[in-house]
Symmetry: D2
Subunit: 348 residues, 4 copies
């Protein structure tokens, strides 16, 4: 392994610590690896060592290259300094993809607390976004400004291009209220972004990997399931990135978006509501929907009510068009033809 | 084990299946056990066997008595029939606490999909509430009426007396949108109710215990972490109820409420914002807060801004009074005196 | 689920308790299931309830039909009464394979302590052997006769037809010394039988499923890994039997024998030593071995010493012929021809 | 973290790679840490990188300092060169206990395959033994000399001073037969040494940490439980060493020896057979045993036969004297007096 501390900004004391693993034939091992960029917490007043090395080791064990960014803090934390530090770090890492044997489109950020805020900013506001984000007891809205008066809340910045997120926290966190995580999930949901989330029953703020050498792990202090986030986040990254094997990366099992609503045009994998909101598409679909309802069996007759979206909670509004039409007798060819027509219709 | 099918309502075909385990000296085992009441799903059109026996076995293995309620469905599901079925079942179970060797204040409901809706109704609207609720891909708001036109959404019914909840679902559930779970969590959070939650990256609706004999468990179909909800919910119930041991129940590790806001009076374990909203209490506290701010070190000076709650996101508003005052020089006696004074102040 | 207590022998008070799960289309579920036959412990003086129901629940949860045999104890335990009870039970179960929807060749015994002794007897001495055996802190040699003066030790009875075994115990068991498990494994190894084994660092005898309602589970009493045997044994049974899915059983991942030495004739999947011990086969193979050694690269030249079996620890003696010959240039056709010739050679 | 490659022997190309973690107040973390010394495998022809860094990361994650010893191989592997390399490494590490912040009596070796052979040699033959040994598919007897013609088998070297061992392997390992592990366990058992062991149903040799970046982990290749050895060995080390917490090491939960037979004198925690083998002690105990048998209840009368050790399998021979006498009416004072007397009796 090659560990080194690279100075990104001498004035603001910004550094990138590398944990680059051996690769290639000589090692009898994988040719390239995915990577994680770790953003420790510390209320923008410090970068906590407790959320640096231990996290790097966990991901190194799982086969990832790891990087720790110590971003601008204290007087230097004025926004967007920390975000600029991130941009500089991810750009540097991606530009070394070849020499460091990194899959440049398989790089996740992992942020804790204030570092979690920076990770959500990277996932929503950055030019050079990560491919996934792991967010530990992250500040997203409440208390952002108590940490960093100029920094933006990031929930409203979540968009259709936000990468998949893994969100974890303890419900009783008394430093960062749990709504920071819940409301961020809601925004991910509203934008069709893939995510996984674990909110554990109880435990303090700032537990990092929850090893006994870092955190008081007695059951009266912290719930026994909290340490699972480490293995679960690694498992989740495999679902999102694919598995790093001796034959290369396998195909991901979980797509980054739960439907095609994030695209700039329509497809049959957009949701019914998303498609019907575009008048041109609604006109195109109308006869198919009528046929679909007409063809419903007596048993499923009540389902036609499901299409009534007057109160915004239509049962089918969130279904993909593909799944919805499958209830009728649409052929593969018809579906393909429809998909082609929809792809001509752009979403502003 | 004693398994029996009790008829609760012949007309509506409502039954309670019992899985009552051996207890007592003769068994060389525990004297009493906690219990679970299982509410299978099925869109209020049926009670799915897939979410009945297999769930009972999982909890029986963990030492619980189990009950499966097959509530009113199809034409009989008109609200509040299913809720009445629940009331009848829980009342019956609690009235048999002695003969069946049940801890009557350690009974959790476990509901799936539409049964999850019924479980949230039990936790929020019932006369005879459960002591905890486990909610699997539960319908709480969206699609309630598509299943059962007269049934209420339950999110707005969450209150300070709602018991602790364990919420799980898959993010890609195409039958019950994930917002049903997220918004329910938000309501629990807003009411100070303890909860744990696991939203898994991907998988279909209705996976039950996710055993291969019930659900296609291939990785392309469902995320490998989904089956963890079973063990995790059992672990969580132990945190909430205590552990059932040969010497009786141990003390719970996780309280049912994260602060005392749920009480009808104030205490030092209420949140700052909750206490300050009562004018009488605000007056009482004013000098202490002033002293606290005055006593803050130079370093923490900025913190006084934290008390400014003009935008509703004050950093201290969610802190317990006890924790907040600990930053000053309040003595144990002073805290106790304050607590006594607060307990005289009632919250309507 | 259908639970019933069947009397197998009224005089000796032998019963079989059934936990037969629903099957078939109506259930929207699996058509048939594998099964376990549980043999509780109790020093042949009793059949412990602690090792009956709780074990049945664990396997029922995993999709298995379960049966508990309460065999002859106390004055009735004279050998071979308990073994006859087993024979009667397994015969009854297999004869009901159709009505009870059981895969009749996917039935495992699970025995604890003295019940573990009976399980090893079933696996080695019975007419009607099980398809796998799970052995918990089983008595196999030491103390057999202290429990049951007429009962045989079972280690010397292990043979090539013994089914796969899963062996677990605690190293500090003060009732049944750990050599009972170690020596049984050695016998399985010597007979080419597949097995898995977990010996945990510390803990008492008789922990059953290690649930807190059965066993003091505090860390000072019992090692935290002990409860893993339950899930691990279920995972192992899936490897041995295949997985019970909605489409039927999948193929097993782990064969019951690690090579073909258990057959009554030779194959290329027998070990080198096993084949060479038959003069007719040794003659047949001689030229191939010479060619193999001659063809070894300079680098691997030392390996020819590996063939020298004078001290019985030749490096290749335990290799399958197929794997060994793969080091040379043998073609698929030649291998197939050799296999056909070997299959003509019988092993007494 | 401080990673460095120290040359131990330039001529034989022996190196020690360090992974020394931050410690002390400045880190807001533990003051000292336990350590592991990793011995990669490679048939004494190489030191495999696959069993070096990945193992170090796993233990670094768990809070351990890690060291990788690349010992003498190929022409330099003549015994006792590799053992001398180990002695040099452990001596160096222990001599730096203060500067590197290591608990010098909490150092485990972890060896794989041929490195596992070296680890067993360290545990049995070295001057400067480790405090625990983790042995992965280790060569202990069969094939030792095929790897290293001068090296000794280590099973017969196991003695009462051998430190606790954690033994793991796959049952189907075709390179190192499973008897290497089974027979080593038997020797540990015979010498009263604490151990834990996991033999997994199937899988190839040399899987290291079983991460997908190192090993083909498809279920048809390797049993899904194999990767558990990593977490299980870490859990076991905590049982043996105690837990490394912010307040220092906790007390171990599992003693290094299962009884006091390993001492040079007798105690009441020696086994009955061990004590009775010393004539002086047998004379001392005789009246107590007579009283014990006389006092047995009618029900337990048969137990007196348990004391008959004519066939070496007496039921009580492996019981600690303390546990055995507890069946009688011995007082704490009497037990203490007996213990004092026994401690005067030396075992050669």
């Amino acid at each position: 392994m090659n560990t080194e501390v690279l100075t990104l900004n001498e004035e603001r004391n910004v550094t990138l610590t590398t944990y680059i693993q051996d690769c290639g034939e000589g090692f009898g091992c994988v040719a390239k690896r995915p990577a994680v960029l770790i953003l420790p917490g510390g209320a923008y007043q410090m970068c906590s060592d407790r959320e640096a090395d231990p996290v790097a080791f966990a991901y190194a064990k799982a086969g990832y290259h790891a990087f720790v960014l110590r971003y601008s803090v204290m007087d230097d934390c004025t926004w967007p300094n920390p975000l600029n530090d991130y941009e500089q770090a991810i750009t540097l890492i991606r530009s070394h993809a070849d020499t460091w044997h990194i899959y440049e489109d398989k790089i996740a950020v992992i942020g804790f607390s204030a570092g979690g805020h920076l990770a959500t900013a990277a996932a929503t506001l950055a030019q050079n976004r990560p491919n996934a984000a792991i967010l530990g007891y992250a500040v997203t809205s409440q208390h952002v400004q108590a940490c960093n008066p100029n920094a933006p809340e990031t929930i409203s910045a979540v968009d259709r291009k936000t990468p998949p997120c893994f969100v974890f926290a303890t419900r009783t966190d008394s430093m960062v209220p749990i709504n920071n995580s819940i409301d961020f999930m809601r925004a991910l949901s509203d934008n069709g972004v893939a995510f996984e989330s674990h909110i554990y029953a109880y435990g303090p703020h700032g537990f990092s990997t929850c090893e006994s050498s870092i955190q008081d792990t007695r059951p009266q202090t912290i719930c026994s399931r909290v340490p699972h986030w480490v293995e679960d986040s690694i498992g989740w990254l495999k679902d999102i990135f694919g598995e790093c094997t001796l034959e290369g990366m396998t195909d991901p099992l979980c797509p980054a978006h739960i439907n095609d609503n994030y695209l700039d045009y329509l497809t049959v994998d957009c949701t019914f509501a998303h498609v019907m909101a575009i008048p041109e598409a609604a006109t195109l679909l109308a006869p198919m929907i009528d046929a679909l309802i007409a063809g419903l069996s007596e048993q499923a007759k009540g389902m036609s009510a499901a299409f009534d979206d007057s109160n915004g909670t239509s049962m089918v509004s969130d279904m993909k068009l593909r799944d919805l039409l499958a209830y009728g007798k649409i052929s593969d060819d018809e579906l393909k033809a429809l998909d082609n027509q929809l792809r001509q219709i752009s979403v502003i």
